[in-house]
Amino acid sequence: MSTTQHFDAIVVGSGISGGWAAKELTEKGLKVLLLERGRNIEHIKDYVNASKDPWDYPHRGRPTQEMKRNHPVLQRDFVLNEETNGMWANEQESPYVEKKRFDWYRGYHVGGRSLLWGRQSYRLSQRDFEANLREGIAIDWPIRYQDIAPWYDYVETFAGISGTVEGLDHLPDGKFLPPIELNCVEKDVAARIKKAYGGKRLMINSRTANITQPKPEQGRVNCQYRNKCWLGCPFGAYFSTQSSTLPAAMKTGNLTLRPFSIVSQVLYDKDNKRARGVEVIDAETNQTYEFTANIIFLNASSFNSTWILMNSATDIWPGGLGSSSGELGHNVMDHHFRVGAGGVVEGFEDKYYYGRRPAGFYIPRFRNLDDTPRNYVRGFGYQGGASREDWNRSVAEMGIGADFKNALAEPGAWTIGMTAFGEMLPHHDNRIYLDHTVKDKWGLPVLAMDVEIRENEKAMRKDMLQDAIDIFEAAGVKNVSGGDWGYSPGMGIHEMGTARMGRDPKTSVLNAFNQVWDAPNVFVTDGACMTSASCVNPSLTYMALTARAVDHAVKELRKGNLK
């Protein structure tokens, strides 16, 4: 053991929620240590591909066979590509066990997946927070919409979410910047859908964490419509740790950022029933360090926050800190997707577009609201867009020669497509656990995944497919065809659950303020805390829950309740 350093607070993980924890804690005057297991990526300077065009890549963006060999999991989907290569966790150094197939896409670097995220930002609704209780599924959320609403306001205002006010109870409005516009075809289809369904089904603008007005106080420029967000934005136009929360935390002078710091456990003081700090393995030197603090925020991403808990205080609880409920590691959720439809829109051949949007349209949930219940519970939303076909449209149909080249140099038909994102129920048997027979590069046990979609999700997928087809046909879209391209848990990259919030320590890991019941100075505010999944993209909710938990933590700290 080396020297022990003390801080007021430690934050584990520097992604979306960890960045928020660091910002809020430092702005409240606490001295904070922000630990990140991977390398540093500095804003703008380290966005090595941010200004490249397709021709700047030797393979024009496509994955090589070597990349596929190095990333046996990632290569299953589009996320493995030449543009973001090097931005995903090293699968050899950090393996995991798939008892059942689980696609786990991890960003092990400062900023985590905040650099790589899809940026779609929607609020959970009162209906979402009540769903478990009303349907008798899993356990009740310990909070309601009104508990989190002001915190949504707060984080949206800072992060910058563009969108439109729609007045829907099941998709609450927020503090929006002007929306990223729909194109002319989307506007037309949206109007036809509204008419066809009497307003019961709506196509609205994406709500996305790309700013449409500058935020000079944060040094951020509005979106330049390059659609290269996942490479890091030199304009700081989308919310990420680097563009937004990290600079704010740094500005306080209260933040210490330590990359290459793998937290191996929370150090637990059983006499005080409090955590006293964390143990860190330096990823480069393998040296072990201890850091102590009054409060600890675990924001290591859903599964890794739970991994840390499972590996902590095992002398008292063999299943780890927070396992006394029997729920730690259980109730894994994701959003199941890869079902949708597409078709051709006629009548806009004299229209095109300028600029590349990082967004499209959204069709909010319409199933199981106040209409006839379906043969499943919960619902789904659609995300998609319309565009004109490019040179890639007719590889099989056209010939060769000058006319062929000239034809492909012009845009083709307008097409429109969308894919559904469905809610996945929390199921006790969907779980992760430690596998001590497999170790990572640092000799630490790895996670095993045992998760599958069940009857409710499978029944929902039938509607996700048919409704997509029906909506487009009702809107006059031509040549509509749909498909279910198969889904494996994890592919949504929205992994949630495993340390759920609740009202009772016997059935939940965290209380209503994200405190571990068995160690109230430990907070978990990433996706691990989710009690149910809703069908909307979850990151905005992690931001709001984190800001709310920090507010509570600091108040409690000042009252002396966390000593």
């Binding site: 030797p58 543009e83 989307e186 078709g343 004299d350 590349r356 040179w391 449209r393």
Partner: protein, 185 residues
């Protein structure tokens, strides 16, 4: 609309670029041992000329201007599976053999009209094979030609249009026939 097109248009418009995974341009399987079958300088010249026949120089640049032959060899070497590499290399031999049978000499010795006739026949033949569910080497060459050309700087900026930093979005830009497509979405 097939699955590839659908996925592409969905991905292109939802902020998740669908790059790779077409299952056509590259195979899905990976091989564990990879000793690249090699290309000679002559192969690059041959590939350039085939590509130029598919996408000739007109008032705008053609495949040779975009160094498509060179690109194809890099792509086949690095991104194709070993099986796909073997199909591609064998395909070049088959192409020359077919050319000899038809015209009495190799592709490089053909007149421009003969090249067009030959590649056009090959294109139709390959389409029939693909329709029957069989991979054909010419389909590989043609796909790599289109991909290599339209994602090149020459193709992307002189044949298509490209603005590195659009700065704004207009969802209803007037369009008239002859206006060029954007290089990227």
């Amino acid at each position: 609309m097939n699955r590839r097109e659908l996925l592409k248009l969905i991905a292109a418009t939802t902020g998740t670029a669908m790059i790779g995974g077409s299952g056509l341009l590259t195979g899905c399987a990976t091989s564990s041992t990879q000793t690249a079958l090699t290309f000679s300088p002559d192969d690059i010249v041959l590939l350039d000329e085939i590509a130029e026949t598919i996408l000739p120089r007109t008032q705008t640049p053609g495949a040779k201007d975009a160094k498509v032959g060179q690109f194809m060899t890099v792509y086949v070497n690095d991104c194709y599976t070993r099986e796909e590499q073997a199909t591609f290399h064998k395909g070049l031999l088959l192409l020359e053999e077919r050319c000899h049978k038809t015209y009495g000499h190799g592709f490089m010795a053909l007149q421009p009209a003969e090249r067009e006739e030959f590649v056009s026949h090959l294109d139709k033949h390959a389409k029939a094979e693909i329709a029957a569910g069989k991979m054909h080497y010419f389909t590989m060459i043609k796909q790599l030609t289109l991909f290599g050309f339209f994602t090149s700087e020459v193709g992307g900026t002189q044949v298509l249009r490209h603005v590195a930093i659009p700065g704004r979005f207009d969802g209803e830009l007037p369009y008239k026939p002859g206006d060029r497509a954007w290089a990227t979405r």
